[in-house]
């Protein structure tokens, strides 16, 4: 049977991969996909904790699952707004490459 440590390590590795996507890739859309991976990793550890720490009634802690539901909703809103910003940027600059978006660079 998988233990809680298994789930936490897999979740941490998923988070690390998302972080690698954000830090190493230069395309705005791929950076966004990395953010999604990081949010999903957080969801996985929340659900794992909820299943492994049963309440007094012997059922998982459903507060965590409600929290995951909220996270998914916020992520959906974030993706919509972020992609709209990327489209607006592309319209202004004809690029989604972060190295070419240096107007605000000091």
């Amino acid at each position: 049977m998988p233990t809680l440590a298994h789930y936490l390590i897999v979740s941490g590795l998923l988070f690390a991969l998302g972080m690698a996507g954000v830090l190493l890739r230069r395309n705005l859309l791929i950076i966004f996909m990395g953010l999604e991976l990081m949010l999903n990793a957080a969801n996985l550890s929340l659900v794992a904790f909820s299943r492994f720490n049963l309440g007094p009634d012997g059922m998982p802690n459903y507060n965590a699952q409600v929290f995951v539901f909220f996270i998914i909703t916020v992520a959906a809103a974030e993706v919509a707004v972020g992609l709209a910003i990327i489209v607006a940027l592309y319209r202004a600059k004809q690029t989604t490459h972060v190295d070419d978006l240096n107007t605000l660079k000091f």
Binding site: M1, P2, T3, L4, A5, H6, Y7, I9, G12, L14, F15, A16, L17, G18, M19, A20, G21, L23, L24, R25, R26, N27, L29, I30, M33, E36, L37, N40, N43, L44, V47, S50, R51, F52, L54, G58, P60, Y62, N63, V66, V68, F69, F70, I72, T73, V74, A75, A76, E78, V79, A80, V81, L83, I85, I86, V87, A88, T96, H97, D99
Partner: protein, 167 residues
Amino acid sequence: MQLVLFWIFSLLMLLSAMGVVFFRNPVSSAMSLVLSFIALAAVFVTLDAFFIAVVQVLVYAGAVMVLFLFIIMLLDLREEKRRRVRLSAWLGGGLVVGGFISALLKVVLSLPALLVTKPAMSHPLANDIEQVGFNLFRNFNLPFQVIGVLLLVATVGVVLLSKKELK
């Protein structure tokens, strides 16, 4: 059996997440991300979180990824040109990610409280959709309505951002 399923789906999830980071073509990355989300939904099922698994497939693998693919097609992104690799960026990124993974492994493996197997639920086939819904509307009613406002604000914001010219 559970362990085998857990490893199959989590390895599938991690490998396709790796594909997201390392594919050069954005469409391949997006397809890899869909696979990663679906595998994650399967991992949720091994945790008896059926509602979350269904929402994961519906919202992430469905709505969010369609939006991503739509934008990739709309912007007509081609395969990225190979640019000069900036060694400092890769070094810094590798250092941060490697440090994170080693710290995580050290902490998780040193806590014996985490090396427990899944405790049996009192009702193994409980209706978790009912439980989550009950909790959502009873204990989290205000946050639920706030998140509705958030979605409305996001919708209005997207419409405004997508306008050609702001008046």
